[in-house]
């Protein structure tokens, strides 16, 4: 069973999440060896703070990627929704009304997502190109009609929420370090998305559609409504991410996310999502985002000059996609011809494909 062993080995090597965990561990060991003074709760909170917004955006992208598309409009949707919400809701009010701007941003996000879905379904082109066009339109409308200046005074309830801490601990040096309470909704959203993708018929339909559109259609998945659902969800998450960013930074700058689309996509892909659809998990995405944030924040303690940052992340990304490609290449062919061969028929159903995502 040499072949089976080799294939198992390669599948292990191609297990993106394992790879990410190993890389995270190596990074931690390296930092611990070179600069142990950095390993404080302070750094941990920093990593959490910097990952939060990217993570929600990444989950939004993940849903679209699982469905077999590529979305590049999520940052435009996010900042459009957040900026409009900030200018729509009343400036004053008790802190308890902080949910209002979030609700407005999510609603605007859903609306823009529906526009995306309409273009994707109406023009019948790849989602990459459709969302390229819509993101140009969204940003144009934002700047031309909503406003293009930085809003430095965000609504009072939002400001209070953004500066509320979940945890406040004494920092390593002086003062205190804090973890924003906004980390809670981020975690809830991640868990809810994972549960939705894994346990609901609609969630499974998204995987099915991404795996093979035609097969999914014949199996009774309504393609049109599923596409609408995917983009509405992705828009809602993008709106939430944009609002979280605004609440955390205390200002609404329409140019904040310019040009960051590919970085988020990279984190999702690094997290093991298959770019052609049908496979991906929230867990992997969380690891991908965490890894990139950790690399960014540990390069300086490790003594690596900041100019190397992009090159290091690029190399890691290439490593990730190459391993992914190698792993998918050795996937056993469905046992149609020779069911007796144990290598060809490892299981009645290929669990790694059928129960893609968190179910692995």
């Amino acid at each position: 069973m040499k072949a089976a062993g080799a294939s198992r080995w390669r599948r292990v090597a191609g297990d993106q999440e394992l790879l990410l965990l190993v890389l995270l561990g190596l990074l931690l060991v390296a930092v611990a060896a070179r600069a142990p003074e950095v390993l404080t709760v302070d750094t941990l909170f920093n990593v959490a703070r910097e990952s939060m917004v990217t993570l929600v955006f990444a989950v939004a992208v993940l849903i679209v990627i699982i469905s077999g598309g590529i979305d590049v409009s999520f940052l435009a949707v996010g900042i459009f929704a957040a900026y409009s919400a900030v200018s729509l809701v009343p400036q004053e009010g008790p802190a308890a009304t902080a949910w209002l701007p979030f609700a407005v941003a999510v609603a605007i996000g859903v609306a823009l997502g529906l526009v995306n879905a309409a273009v994707v379904l109406g023009a019948g082109v790849s989602t990459l190109i459709a969302t390229l066009a819509t993101s140009a339109v969204f940003l144009g409308v934002l700047f031309a009609f909503v406003g293009g200046t930085v809003v430095n005074s965000i609504p009072e309830p939002l400001r209070v929420l953004g500066s509320t801490s979940l945890l406040e601990l004494p920092a390593a040096g002086r003062g205190t370090t804090r973890l924003s309470v906004l980390v809670l909704p981020v975690l809830v959203v991640c868990a809810a998305t994972a549960a939705f993708l894994r346990w609901t018929v609609a969630g499974r339909s998204i995987f099915a559609m991404g795996g093979d559109r035609e097969a999914a259609r014949r199996a009774g998945v309504a393609i049109g409504p599923t596409v609408v659902l995917v983009f509405a969800l992705s828009g809602a998450l993008a709106g939430l991410a944009g609002m979280t960013h605004v609440a955390l930074s205390g200002r609404a700058d329409p140019t904040t996310f310019f040009g960051g689309e590919l970085n988020v996509l990279a984190a999702v892909v690094l997290g093991g999502a298959l770019i052609s659809g049908g496979r991906g998990s929230v867990r992997g995405t969380v690891l991908g985002v965490l890894l990139i944030t950790c690399i960014r924040s540990s390069l300086i303690p490790l003594g690596i000059p900041p100019v190397w940052q992009e090159a290091v992340i690029g190399s890691l990304l290439i490593l990730g996609v190459v391993l992914q490609a190698l792993a998918s290449r050795v996937k056993p062919v469905r046992a149609i011809l020779d069911p007796a061969d144990p290598v060809l028929a490892p299981a009645p159903l290929r669990r790694d494909v059928v129960e893609a995502g968190d179910a692995r």
């Binding site: 031309a144 690029g314 290439i318």
Partner: protein, 343 residues
């Protein structure tokens, strides 16, 4: 084939698809509308010269993307390759003290680096069978990072005047870089339509399985495709650094997405199998006509964004439904012929 029906074969080379005719119509409409609305600004020599100077870099980058789309792939690393080419060229030129030989050596070094980067893309795509969009997403980050390391995070400044004068000089009022674009476009047209490599690229894009069964070695073709794409991006990088008198690892990241827009607007099929060099050049001009025309009307530059996005969506919708409409009309006519009304 070559010779007698030259007009027809030229049209075939340019892409006689209906989408190409629609592109021409829309471009002409843009020119006429803005020419009538703002003749003094839109049709001024300075506007046309600006177009001649600004269009080559975008057109070259779009061509670099379009070539990979022809084989059913995509290249997201073109801007990173262009910047790297400019940085390498600039560094060599400055090191050699700005002599004529140094400028030539620097340009060649820049193009060489760009082709090498393209070969890396090709190796990852063909050799390791990584999806092109992922492979080039990774190399874009890596090459951008290498550019940052080479420059130390600052722009390469002080390029020799011999090199920066190229972008400023004109021949009969036409900027030299625009003539360069036309020359590159001509060579690329011949490569795609008249050479064996071009034929294999089209086959591979149209149907990879059929191409493989026909004995096309897809690996070699893909590597050649990505090297070609890298070379085109490298030329764009030289044009950019000559025009901007400098090279920077962060220049023009928005060009990646804009380049895809231009390619699709031109009617290049992102699924592979069809591209039109002339269409890409015309689509670049159409986008720039639209933006300078709108700016001449004193609208905000953000409306230009909306208009470009709307143009793309419109073209996609029209391209999708016009075929279906004309087919439906034809079928209805056939039905009428087949079942004549009884008297």
């Amino acid at each position: 084939m070559s010779g007698a029906p030259s007009a027809r074969s030229l049209l075939a080379v340019m892409g006689s698809r209906a989408s190409f005719l629609r592109l021409l119509t829309i471009t002409a409409a843009i020119v006429v509308v803005f020419g009538v609305l703002r003749p003094t600004v839109f049709l001024s020599t300075s506007n046309l010269q600006f177009l001649g100077l600004a269009s080559p870099e975008l057109a070259l980058l779009s061509l670099a993307i379009a070539v990979t789309m022809l084989t059913g792939g995509i290249d997201l690393s073109v801007v990173a390759i262009a910047n790297l080419s400019g940085i390498v060229a600039g560094t060599v030129m400055i090191a050699s003290g700005g002599s004529a030989g140094g400028v030539v050596a620097g340009s060649l070094a820049g193009l060489g680096a760009a082709m090498l980067a393209g070969a890396v893309n090709g190796a990852i795509v063909a050799g390791l069978r990584v999806t092109p969009i992922l492979a080039t997403l990774g190399t874009a980050q890596l090459l951008g990072g290498i550019g940052l390391v080479l420059t130390g995070g600052t722009a390469v400044k002080g390029l020799p005047p011999l090199f920066t004068d190229v972008a400023r000089s004109t021949v009969a009022g036409v900027p030299v870089v625009f003539l360069l674009l036309l020359a590159v476009a001509l060579v690329l047209t011949l490569l795609v339509s008249r050479t064996t490599l071009g034929f294999r690229m089209r086959m591979l894009g149209a149907n990879p399985v059929a191409a493989r069964y026909s004995g096309v070695r897809s690996g070699r073709v893909l590597v050649s495709t990505y090297v070609t794409s890298g070379l085109l991006a490298g030329v764009a990088g030289l044009v950019i650094s000559s025009r901007a008198s400098g090279a920077d690892a962060d220049y023009g990241t928005s060009y990646i997405l804009l380049g895809i827009v231009v390619a699709v607007l031109a009617g290049v099929d992102p699924e592979g199998g069809y591209m039109t060099v002339a269409g890409v050049v015309i689509a670049t001009l159409a986008l720039l006509f639209l933006s300078t025309g709108l700016l001449a009307l004193d609208v905000s530059s953000h409306v230009v964004n909306i208009a470009q996005g709307a143009l793309l969506i419109t073209m996609m919708v029209v391209n999708r439904y016009s075929g279906a409409w004309s087919r439906a009309v034809r079928e209805r006519a056939l039905v009428r012929i087949a079942r004549p009304r009884r008297a």
